[in-house]
Amino acid sequence: MKLSRYPGLIIAVLLVVLVSLYPIITGSASARETVFTVLMSLALASSLNILLGYTGYVSFGHIVFFGLGGYVGFYTLTALHWHLLLAVLAGGAAAAGLAFALGKSILRLRGAYFALATIGVNEALRAFINNFEPFGGPVGMDMKFAIYNEYGGAMQALWIVYGGLIVITLGVIFTSYAVKKSKFGLGLMAIREDEDAAEVMGVMAPNAKTWAYVLSAIFPGLIGVLFFFKNGNIEPGDAFRLHLSIELIVMVMLGGQGTVLGPIVGGAAYQQLRKTLLTSPLFKNIQLAVAGFLLLIIVLFIPSGAVGWLRSRFATMRRVLE
């Protein structure tokens, strides 16, 4: 394998690796927390991009997979005393399972109807878990501090979680790239451009869409477990935050839907912006309004996002940026 043949992948991976290494090299816990948020955002945005960017289906309630994964993982950690690694896999499997089960039904809906259905799913699951006693109902679940001792104490556990997130983020990027470059991905993009024409050409849209949905759900499921393990408690209000879903869409659109690099750039840029807004007295209470406004601007003026704009503007960029 000649690396120079995959410039789009290399750039994306290098960006992530460089940013991730900084806290490790400096050993700074506060840098680690900042980068954790950034990595989580760009990994979630990149997963969403598989559905939103490649397939053209806007999942407004994508955070449901993060929440469900988080809950299932948390439960296996605290009630079943599973190892974190297994818990993370369980969270991913649960998210994938939900996406698969939903896929056949709600993916038949198109456009706004699909988007609305995904919000419905998120709200329905939140309501369900609110009343589901094994998961703690409305108060959720807490983690005993002793659990962290199995991972060398709380400090060490936080670094392990951080390492786990780096691995998952790289996994998302490889997946995103591999999908984009594959026959499967080409089928997804055909569906995005014209689903009926794609089917006439032989693309099995119902299957392809379901697998795209499953792929884009697995990673939020995995990440949810890490997040809530680190958090130490989980409750419905935290797990199924619809506005996080919307922020993810902003990130994807900002960087460029349908590109590998776009959600990475968009996720990082959005988090920087959010941080600035949150620390500014003027904007800190209207951060979501700013996100909404930003989305409006992007959709109106640069619908292909930053990376998409560069690609369409400069032919050389098309070879380098994926």
């Binding site: 594959s182 993009m189 014209d194 009926d196 089917e199 032989g202 693309v203 099995m204 849209a205």
Partner: protein
């Protein structure tokens, strides 16, 4: 017989767009499908390749009953079509459009082989100069060729052409006619919907005529063009009568 259409009816609510239509098609032939606007020609295509489920009747393709199969199954079995209103995959390049056809068509190729097939087909239809352009940037004539290229890339047994000549200028029309002849020589059976009479007449071995969803005549081009019912159907459509007259002048 590569295709048998048996008593196919398609209703949309109260409207019967295709009424009890039956015909057969021998391998290697070009069948012309003509009729005034709104006669149900496109709907019949949609029934044949599974975009619509016929309300009644059967479609037998290469001996297999394909009635009610999803359209992608029909594509896998070797049935390809072009759209009257072109449907390019806009944000993909011309090459990617054609590769989709090759990847997901009858031969179910991998990306690499599909790219070879796509290059060959693009050369064949005359799109080699535009392979890396976005499909959205093509003009109408090129988009029609793209429709044809995607369909051919799937290596079909039967090709349904829905007004591939509409909107082309006379030079483009005659170029496209040559292309269609070469497609036939590749051994592909064709059904073509066409309004340009001299084109259908010169290409088809056999013609069927639809009017208000019903098959009102069939036969050789000569037979059909002299059939009083056909003439009446066309004269009943002032637009088309005028267009026919114009074409006679060309």
């Amino acid at each position: 017989m590569i295709l048998q259409v048996q008593n196919v009816t398609k209703r949309f609510g109260g409207l019967t767009a295709v009424k009890n239509v039956s015909f057969e098609l021998a391998e290697g032939h070009i069948l012309g499908l003509i009729g005034p606007n709104g006669a149900g020609k496109t709907t019949l295509f949609n029934c044949i390749n599974g975009v619509y489920d016929p309300s009644e009747g059967k479609i037998i393709f290469r001996g297999q009953d394909i009635t009610g199969l999803p359209t992608y199954r029909a594509a896998h079995l070797g049935l390809a079509r072009t759209h009257q209103i072109v449907r390019p995959l806009n944000e993909l390049t011309v090459r990617q459009n054609v590769i989709v056809g090759a990847c997901y068509g009858r031969e179910n190729l991998g990306l690499r082989e599909a790219a070879h097939v796509a290059d060959e087909i693009m050369a064949f239809v005359g799109l080699s100069q535009r392979t890396d352009m976005l499909a959205s940037s093509l003009n109408v004539a090129q988009k029609k060729r793209l429709e044809l290229a995607r369909a051919l890339a799937s290596r079909p047994y039967l090709l349904l052409l829905d007004e591939v000549l509409a909107g082309l200028n006379p030079t483009e029309v005659s170029a496209m006619l040559d292309t269609i002849r070469s497609v036939q020589q590749m051994g592909i059976t064709i059904i073509m919907i066409e309004h340009i009479m001299h084109a259908v007449m010169s290409l088809s071995q056999h013609i069927i005529v639809l009017n208000y969803g019903e098959l009102i005549a069939e036969g050789s081009p000569e037979e059909v063009s002299q059939n009083p019912q056909v003439i009446e159907a066309y004269l009943g459509d002032p637009d088309l009568a005028e267009r026919l007259l114009e074409e006679d002048r060309i």
